[in-house]
Symmetry: C3
Subunit: 349 residues, 3 copies
């Protein structure tokens, strides 16, 4: 069961070119394409004629042409033309509400009539010349909530990412978790430590001495349905940490858009937005490659954790203080799911 | 559920050499081999000794020798010898009725006692020096009836085979479907058009100007259980089309033997029989390769259509006029299935 | 259902180095590692914190450190440390009794409190300078009892291993099966025959004329839960066969440790212990490679036999005299299983 009446990232804007793109989101098999105005749209990936996947077809003049017998599907799920046929009576397929923003295509897998653009999350680092952004996509065979757990408890960095961003001080420093409405925030502040390899690189790139003592912060922020933004960075020790002046720190936002595919798999769009040297495209590419490698290290762990949990479905897991971020995020999801369920039950027929 | 008391193509004669061949047909796991007289025979692919697949064994003096412990299986499903054993009391395994004809091995998966050679379909283009034939085999992960649908509605050529045999005039020209007993015939005649690439090649090979205007025909003929023969060709415009004299046309028969493997997979023996330049073996090979590529284009579509239908098992598909050939073919199959079922129920015990 | 309160081979000593090793045995997902004293130990492969597989972690000072968040698991299934946590209340995971002997790590998958080292089988050819040993491991997708059947009926050598150890005289010579307590022994003695290729090689290596007539023996000995030791060899004809003096024979013990993984898969540790030229490491390597090839030939047969049996779950198999070894071995397993089951039911709570 997934939150359906909410916005998920479906793909990047660049993923959606001239060809249709098939993708399953929240167990819904969807096909994304661009209409005549080049707007991203989505309908069910199911031709009403004979059930062929429309994503095997092509886009012509903003209509999706089935690759089997040429049925032309409009962006509202109504067949608009088929050679030699009267199509008025053809059954509709579902259309999904779509918004393109921040370089991503977002989809509302639930009732399109309820789709509310004002519920789109707001990010000031996208489309902003003060910031650079780059990221990538992983397909992970694990419940999307295991990825939320992963990102809301960064003590795993010490073990999973020992050679890049992990360091023992993470373990040694307690974290604190609190809620802000439906957002869950877990933060950890480390003082007067040596920066780990990734941050030394960032300090050097930002003109700082990589050997200098730093204050380091990790502020993980979950917002429903499954976005996790993490403020991370280091500042020269004693300069104010997160609030230090720009010239004394290297900082960025780890961007995680987690989209359920099935109950045991998800699409994971990851990236990093940074404020330092935003025009240095070589640095952007270097960070993207490094982050891709680091985040790839989590995949095997999550997929084997998922397999283990399926093998032991009744076993209870521990909920330690370090797990509070994940635990509270799941609680928010459960509350919203219950509300969505109740809304369906009490809705006028 | 499949029609069982009928003839299906199991493999080509060339497939069945000195080694046994294991193949599942209509959910029956069978092993084919040649007896001492080099006749093709078939029994269950299950050694009565310990359940080893007999197809892993070898053929010796017309007996199938199990590759595990040397049990010798005769062509009627009776064990004929086993080293150091008295085999008279060994349980029999099923034997299947087999006929070899037209370069193919045909099997009757149902009751061998009912196997009727007179029900074998008759084709005048096999074993006929006026004709050349070549073909191949695809294993397709889709219900065999999706392949019948595919072949009985050739409007898909415009989309799936756009660069070879597809052309918009197929869509623009209505087809007509009628029944002839249990056969279903869907035909389409296009007049005064340009030939598509495949037929230009064929015209050139037959000494015709490939740029000349032509009349083109497609006459799909389904016969139970699942054979589809398609008369296809082009004749110089106004020369009589299908009935034009040989020197003014290029024509052939697309041969499709569709054999269920499981409910969601089938063996697809495809080929082409042609009357022009039958001795030109280079042309035969060229056509075979081209047809193999074209027919390979259907595979992904059918397999993903199958996956989509499994995902939406209750959804109704459209039955348009272009689908009439497939729809009526399935109706013939259903009627024969019901009759076969009733025959089983009313048969003396 | 498997015999649980008994010793199985889990892996070789060499397999268990500095890294943990995950392996499923009798449907139990286990992780093996070496404690601070370098003793092999095993616990469940399930971190009590969040269910991560502990086998993805590392071993530090004899403790297993989870690769996700650094929980340190002791060798008794108790968490001994986790950064920033009080671990006393953490739930335990199962620990398994382990013994390292003969170059193998042995595990008792059942109740560790019942683990009895005196029940370990005794082999005089391991750790003995008079003998050489080498072997390998196959993972086989078949019920482990199919491997017992295979090894207790060596008539299959004539068919599966025709070019190495098979010969028609095996089929022509009856075998005899008897029980010795819970052991099952099937033996076959062939007199005055030519040795097959593998044994010619062994004769040559042992300074015997490979063309000389020999007496050959095969004495298969099953002991529960699933060990099969096979005395095999050839002696110059008339010199006493199995009891011939060392200089007149070439003999060895085929060692088979068969460990269930799931109901339809097992780990197969195979090897050969020989008394001739034990210091000739080149010969040891040559025999190991040859045996690996020969035993690999059984794998496809067993896996396809398993698939066939799953397809025909109700069909009865034959139990011939040649099958007596396997049949009686299975009967011993069934009796011990019933006793183990009854023991559980009558045990004090």
């Amino acid at each position: 069961m997934f939150l359906m009446n909410t916005w998920y990232v479906a793909c990047t804007s660049a993923d959606l070119g001239h060809k249709p793109l098939g993708r399953t989101i929240c167990n819904q098999s969807m096909v994304f394409f661009r209409n005549a105005e080049q707007q991203a749209v989505a309908v069910e990936d199911f031709c009403p004629h004979r059930g062929a996947p429309l994503s095997l077809g092509r886009v012509q003049d903003g209509k999706l042409v089935c690759g089997y017998h040429g049925l032309e599907m409009g962006c509202k799920g109504k067949t608009v033309h088929m050679p030699g046929q009267r199509v008025q009576g053809f059954p509709s397929i579902s259309a999904y509400a779509v918004i393109e923003r921040y370089g991503f295509v977002w989809v509302w897998p639930g009732d399109a009539a309820l789709a509310d653009p004002s519920l789109m999350p707001v990010f000031d680092f996208f489309d902003n010349p003060q910031w650079a952004y780059a990221g990538g996509l992983y397909h992970v065979k694990a419940d999307y909530r295991l990825m939320i757990d992963n990102l809301m408890d960064l003590t795993h960095e010490t073990y999973v990412h020992a050679s890049s961003i992990g360091q023992p001080e993470i373990d040694d420093t307690p974290c604190a978790t609190h809620k802000e409405g439906n957002a869950v925030v877990t933060s950890r502040y480390m003082h007067n430590i040596q920066a780990p390899p990734f941050w030394r690189m960032a300090m050097k790139a930002n003109g700082l001495d990589p050997e200098a003592a730093v204050d380091r912060w990790q502020i993980c922020r979950f917002t429903p349905p499954s976005h996790v933004m993490i403020d991370v960075g280091v500042a020269l020790a004693g300069m104010g940490g997160f609030d230090a002046p720009t010239h004394a720190k290297a900082s960025s936002v780890v961007v995680d858009f987690i989209t359920p595919e099935t109950e045991t798999s998800h699409w994971y769009h990851w990236g990093m937005a940074r404020q330092f040297k935003p025009k240095d495209t070589g640095l952007t590419a270097q960070i993207r490659e490094g982050q891709g490698q680091i985040f790839g290290e989590d995949m095997q762990m999550l997929e084997m954790q998922q397999a283990n949990l399926l093998r032991h479905p009744t076993r209870k897991l521990l909920m330690l203080k370090i797990d509070a971020g994940g635990v509270q995020s799941r609680r928010v999801i459960d509350q919203l799911l219950a509300a969505e369920q109740q809304g369906r039950e009490t809705a006028p027929a």
